[in-house]
C-alpha cells in the first residue's frame, strides 16, 4: 500500500473543532462519511456531476467528492447535519418538508446546502436564478418544480426574519 499515507487533520466541522485520522487518498466526501460519520453527505457520482455531496467549505459551495480531505486542514466545513437548530429546522428544511420538495430524499442534503449558499449570496433570487444556481444538483424524482418553490418559500421566510 505504497500509495497510502495516514494524515491527522484538524478542521471546524459544523462549528466544532474536530481532529481525525484520514487516508491520504480520502476525498472530503469519504472523510466526512467514513471518518466523521456524517452520513448525511451523500455519494451520487463521486466525480462532481450530481451535487449530492455538496457542502460549504469556508463559505464556498463545493462538491466534497472533488476536494481531498487533506485540503481542509484549518478550514470550516458545513454539512446538512449542521443546518437545524436545537429547537427548529432551518427554514429551507421546513419548506422542503412542507412543500413536498423531496421524494426519495437522497439528493436533498445537497440541494439544501446549495440553496443555503445561494441565499447567502442572493437573498431574493428570481426563479430563473434559482434554476441556474441549482443546475449542479441532480434530482431525478421531482422534476425540480417543488424544489424551486420550496427554495423561494424559504427565501421569503428568511428575508422576513431579518
Amino acid at each position: 500500500m505504497a500509495t497510502s499515507e495516514r494524515l491527522v487533520i484538524t478542521a471546524t466541522i459544523n462549528g466544532d473543532e474536530r481532529t481525525f485520522l484520514a487516508d491520504s487518498r480520502d476525498s472530503l466526501l469519504e472523510a466526512l462519511r467514513e471518518r466523521l460519520d456524517l452520513k448525511g453527505v451523500k455519494e451520487g457520482c463521486n466525480n462532481g456531476n450530481c451535487g449530492a455531496c455538496a457542502v460549504i467549505l469556508d463559505g464556498r459551495l463545493v462538491n466534497s467528492c472533488c476536494v481531498m480531505a487533506a485540503e481542509i486542514e484549518g478550514s470550516r466545513v458545513e454539512t446538512v447535519e449542521g443546518l437545524a437548530g436545537p429547537e427548529a429546522l432551518h427554514p429551507l428544511q421546513q419548506c422542503f418538508l412542507e412543500g413536498a420538495a423531496l421524494q426519495c430524499g437522497i439528493c436533498t442534503p445537497g440541494f439544501l446546502m446549495s440553496s443555503k449558499a445561494l441565499l447567502a449570496e442572493n437573498p431574493a433570487p428570481t426563479d430563473e436564478e434559482v434554476r441556474f444556481w441549482l443546475a449542479g444538483n441532480l434530482c431525478r424524482c421531482t422534476g425540480y418544480d417543488k424544489i424551486i418553490e420550496a427554495v423561494q418559500a424559504a427565501a421569503e421566510q428568511m428575508r422576513a426574519q431579518k
Binding site: M1, S4, E43, N46, G99, A100, C104
Partner: protein, 762 residues
C-alpha cells in the same frame, strides 16, 4: 368491489400533510443503503469487463490476494450451480442461471462493465487497489450492440443454447436455430386485412429509440452478514425486500428462512432497483471472510452494468377512414434485452395501442439479446417506446386528414366496455376525460407565436399493478395507531398509506405511525413498482381499518353490555350506542383506546391483500417548443401534463410523481442516450455525459389532475407514478414537427439530429 362514483367528502385524503420520514430526510439522518455501518465491517469492490464480448480463459487472483488488507476474492465459480428456470422478481422475472451469470460473469463476459470478480478488503481503497492486480485473460469475441443487427442471421450469437420462444400462432420460426431472438409474441384481434381494406388512408412508419437509464441518484449498494450460525442478513436499497430475499436465496441455494433483508431508505429506483447485483456477492464474500461486508457501485458501474431500458426498433402501420376513425393497426416492436433475455417488450405490446379503440389489430413483440447491460424495468417499462411510435404515427394521420390531433384522438379513445388489445373489456377508464381536460386547458387554448415554435400533444397509457401487500396495525392506548409496512418507501409510501388508514378509521393523519420493516417482521409484500403500492397498500390499510372498526365496536358493546348490532362506529371515529340500562353512550376514538388494556387487551391485526382490480392510467401531455436553427437546441417553452389519477391521496406527491415522470420523459425526448463506440464500449457512463435534465433545462411542468375514481378500490385509487413518462417523447416530437416541419423518427432528438435535418446537405 366498492364503487365510488362521486368523490366522497374525505377528511384526510386530498390533504397535503408532511411525510413521516420527512424530518430524517432533510436533516441527513435517514439511513440509506450505503450508510450502513457494522462492527468489523469489510468493504467490497467489483472488477468489470473491459470488453463487450469475450470468453474468460483464466482469472489469476494471486497477486491481488497477496496485497495486505485483501481478505477474499470470488468469481462466478464460487456460486452454487444454477439450473435454468423462472424466478419471479415482482416486476418481471428472471432465469436464475442468467441472473447469477449477470451478478458475476460465467464463462463469458457479455457487455462492457460485466462483473467478473469481487474483492473483500479492510477498506474501500485497498479493495479498489486489489482490482488492478487481478489478471484476467480474455479471448475476444465478435459482438453486437444494435437490436436490428442482432436479429440478423449472421449476427454474433450471445447464447448458443438460446432458441426463440414463440408465443404467437401461425408463425413459422425454426425451432433449432441459434439466435439472439429470445421471444416472439403476438397479440391480435379482428381481421387485419379487412380493416386495412376499409381504410381511406394508411400510414406506415419506422422508429428507433436509444437506450435510457433510470438515473436514480443513489448508486446500487448491498451489505451482508453471513453469520456463523448460517443466518444471512442483507441491508440494501431496494424496491422490494422480499424480491431481494428470494433472489439471494436462489442464487446462494439457501432456504428463505435463513435470509433476512433489511430495506434501507432508497435513493430512487424507477424500476431499476428490483434485480440484485451486489447483495449476493456481498453475502458470499461475508461467508468467505466471516465478517459483514459493504459494497456500493461507482456511477460508471451503475451506467455500465445496471438495468437501462431497451434500445428499440419499431414499426407502426395504421389505417384510418376519412372521418378519422382508426380501423386497423399493425405494430411490430423489437426490444434489445441486453445480455440476457427479458426486456419489457411484452408490456410494450399490450400498451402500444391502448389509447385507442381500434377493431382490427396485430402487435408483434421481439425480445432480442445484445452485448449491452441486461435491461431492467424503467417506469412504465416498455410503454414509452411503443406508444411513442404509435402517437407519432397517429399525429401524421391527423395531419394527412387535416384534422385536429386532439379531435382525432377523442374520436378513437376507448371507454368502459371497449376491448383492449388482448380482447378483454376495459373497466372504467379516464381516456376521454383526459382528452377533454386537455381540450379545456388554458395551455391548449393559448396561442403560440413566433418562428420555429410549435405545439404537440400525445397520450399515454399504463396498466397499473395490483399484486400482494401486507401490513400490520396495532392500536395504542393513547389513540395512536402503528402501521407496519412491507412496502419500501420510495417517495411517499408511508404518508400515502397512513393517510388511507386514517381515512378508513376516521382519525387524524398524525395518529398513524407508519414504519417499513424487514422481511422477518411482516408478511410477503411485492415490490414498490408498477404503480401498485398506493393501490394495493391502500387496500390493506382499508381492510385493516374495517377490522379495527369492527373490533372497537365489539369492545364498546362489551363495555356497555349490549349486542354489537346496536353499536355504531361513525366515520369520525365516534362510537355511539345505548347501554344495557338504556342510557345513551359514546366513546371518542381516544376514549375507547384508553379503555382497551383494562377491558380485554390491546388490539392488533394483520392482513394481506391481493386484488386484481387495479385501475388503468391515462395521461395526455401538451408541449410547446422552440428550435434554435443555428445550434439545434430545443427549448421547451411550456409543458402541461394531464392525467387521470383516480383519487389523489396526497396531491403534492401525485403532482411530484407526474412532474418527475414528465421530466424523465423530456430527457428521453431531447438529450439522454447511451453512446457505444465501435469497440462496444459505453463512452458516456457519467452524469456529465449521460445528460439528464437539470433544473435550468426545464420550465415548470403544469399538472392537471383528473379524478375518475377506480371502482376497484375503496378510495378510488389508480396508480400514478408510471404513466407520466409515456407521452413526452411523442408530445415533443410532434411539437417539433409543428415548429420546423420535420418529422423525426428517432429519440432523443438531440441538437445534432436537428441540425442534420436543418442544414443543407452536401
Amino acid at each position: 368491489m366498492v364503487a365510488t362514483p362521486q368523490k366522497p367528502a374525505y377528511k384526510v385524503i386530498g390533504t397535503r400533510p408532511v411525510r413521516p420520514d420527512g424530518v430524517d430526510k432533510v436533516t441527513g439522518r435517514a439511513a440509506y443503503g450505503a450508510d450502513v455501518v457494522l462492527e468489523g465491517m469489510l468493504f467490497g469492490s467489483v472488477l468489470r469487463s473491459p470488453h463487450a464480448h469475450a470468453r474468460i480463459k483464466r482469472i489469476d487472483t494471486s497477486k491481488a490476494l497477496a496485497l495486505p488488507g485483501v481478505k477474499a476474492i470470488i468469481t462466478n465459480a464460487d456460486f452454487p450451480a444454477q439450473e435454468s428456470g423462472t424466478l419471479d422478481l415482482g416486476e418481471g422475472s428472471a432465469n436464475p442461471k442468467w441472473l447469477v451469470d449477470n451478478v458475476l460473469a460465467g464463462d463469458k463476459v457479455l457487455y462492457h462493465g460485466h462483473a467478473v470478480a469481487a474483492v473483500a478488503a479492510v477498506d474501500w481503497h485497498t479493495a479498489e487497489e486489489a482490482l488492478g492486480l487481478i489478471d484476467v485473460e480474455y479471448e475476444l469475441l465478435p459482438f453486437v450492440i444494435n437490436v436490428r443487427e442482432a436479429m440478423l442471421d449472421a449476427a454474433p450469437i450471445l447464447h448458443h443454447d438460446l432458441r426463440t420462444n414463440v408465443r404467437a400462432r401461425n408463425v413459422d420460426t425454426p425451432k433449432d436455430r441459434e439466435t439472439n431472438v429470445a421471444m416472439h409474441m403476438r397479440v391480435e384481434k379482428g381481421d387485419l386485412a379487412a380493416g386495412f381494406a376499409e381504410a381511406d388512408i394508411v400510414i406506415e412508419r419506422e422508429f428507433t429509440t436509444s437506450q435510457f437509464h433510470q438515473g436514480y441518484i443513489e448508486p446500487q449498494n448491498g451489505t451482508a452478514h453471513w453469520n456463523h450460525d448460517g443466518q444471512i442478513t442483507v441491508w440494501t436499497s431496494t424496491q422490494g425486500a422480499f424480491s431481494v430475499r428470494d433472489q439471494v436465496a436462489t442464487l446462494l441455494n439457501q432456504p428463505v428462512a435463513r435470509i433476512k433483508v433489511v430495506p434501507m431508505e432508497i435513493g430512487g429506483g424507477f424500476g431499476g432497483k428490483i434485480p440484485v447485483y451486489l447483495e449476493p456477492v456481498a453475502a458470499l464474500l461475508s461467508k468467505k471472510t466471516g465478517h459483514p461486508l459493504k459494497m456500493w457501485m461507482s456511477r460508471e458501474a451503475v451506467f455500465q452494468a445496471t438495468g437501462p431500458t431497451s434500445a428499440t426498433w419499431n414499426r407502426v402501420k395504421i389505417g384510418a377512414k376519412r372521418d378519422g376513425t382508426l380501423v386497423a393497426a399493425d405494430v411490430s416492436l423489437c426490444f434489445a434485452a441486453g445480455a440476457y433475455p427479458g426486456s419489457a417488450v411484452g408490456a410494450g405490446v399490450l400498451c402500444a395501442l391502448a389509447p385507442y379503440a381500434i377493431p382490427n389489430q396485430r402487435i408483434d413483440g421481439f425480445d432480442v439479446v445484445t452485448n449491452t447491460p441486461k435491461t431492467a424495468a424503467y417506469r412504465a417499462p416498455g410503454a414509452p417506446a411503443a406508444e411513442y411510435a404509435v402517437e407519432a404515427t397517429v399525429d401524421e394521420i391527423a395531419r394527412a386528414l387535416d384534422m385536429d390531433p386532439l379531435d382525432l384522438r377523442l374520436k378513437n379513445a376507448p371507454e368502459e366496455g371497449d376491448t383492449n388489445s388482448s380482447g378483454a373489456p376495459w373497466p372504467r377508464i379516464g381516456a376521454k376525460a383526459v382528452i377533454t381536460a386537455i381540450k379545456e386547458s388554458a395551455h391548449y387554448n393559448s396561442e403560440i407565436q413566433g418562428d420555429n415554435v410549435g405545439r404537440g400533444i400525445a397520450l399515454g397509457f399504463w396498466f397499473n399493478g395490483g399484486m400482494e401487500s401486507s401490513s400490520s396495525v396495532a392500536v395504542n392506548p393513547d389513540g395512536s395507531v402503528s402501521l407496519i409496512l412491507g412496502s419500501t418507501d420510495i417517495g411517499g409510501t408511508r404518508a400515502s398509506l397512513a393517510m388511507q388508514l386514517a381515512e378508513a378509521l376516521g382519525v387524524p393523519y398524525e395518529a398513524i405511525k407508519p414504519q417499513v420493516v424487514d422481511t422477518d417482521s411482516i408478511g410477503y409484500t411485492a415490490v414498490t413498482g408498477g404503480s401498485r403500492t398506493t393501490f394495493a397498500g391502500g387496500w390493506v390499510a382499508y381492510d385493516l381499518g374495517q377490522e379495527i372498526r369492527k373490533r372497537l365496536t365489539e369492545r364498546a358493546a362489551r363495555i356497555w353490555g349490549v349486542d354489537i348490532s346496536t353499536v355504531t362506529y361513525h366515520d369520525d371515529a365516534m362510537i355511539t350506542g345505548t347501554d344495557k340500562d338504556g342510557k345513551e353512550q359514546r366513546f371518542t376514538f381516544e376514549e375507547i383506546c384508553r379503555r382497551l388494556p383494562s377491558t380485554g387487551g390491546h388490539i392488533a391485526v394483520s392482513a394481506m391483500s391481493r386484488r386484481n382490480t387495479a385501475g388503468p392510467a391515462y395521461a395526455g401531455h401538451i408541449a410547446d417548443v422552440k428550435v434554435d436553427r443555428e445550434t439545434g437546441k430545443v427549448t421547451v417553452l411550456r409543458y402541461t401534463a394531464v392525467q387521470d389519477v383516480g383519487t389523489a391521496i396526497h396531491p403534492s406527491y401525485v403532482e411530484g410523481q407526474i412532474q418527475g415522470g414528465a421530466a424523465q420523459g423530456i430527457g428521453m425526448a431531447l438529450q439522454e442516450e447511451y453512446w457505444y463506440d465501435d469497440q462496444g464500449h459505453l463512452r458516456n457512463g457519467s452524469f456529465l455525459d449521460y445528460r439528464m435534465p437539470v433544473a435550468n433545462d426545464l420550465q415548470p411542468i403544469e399538472v392537471i389532475l383528473v379524478e375518475v375514481p377506480n371502482p376497484g378500490h375503496p378510495f378510488g385509487v389508480r396508480g400514478v407514478g408510471e404513466v407520466p413518462i409515456v407521452p413526452p417523447q411523442a408530445a415533443i416530437r410532434n411539437a417539433l414537427r409543428d415548429a420546423i416541419g420535420v418529422n423525426f423518427y428517432h429519440t432523443p432528438v438531440t441538437p445534432t439530429r436537428i441540425l442534420d435535418e436543418l442544414l443543407p446537405r452536401a
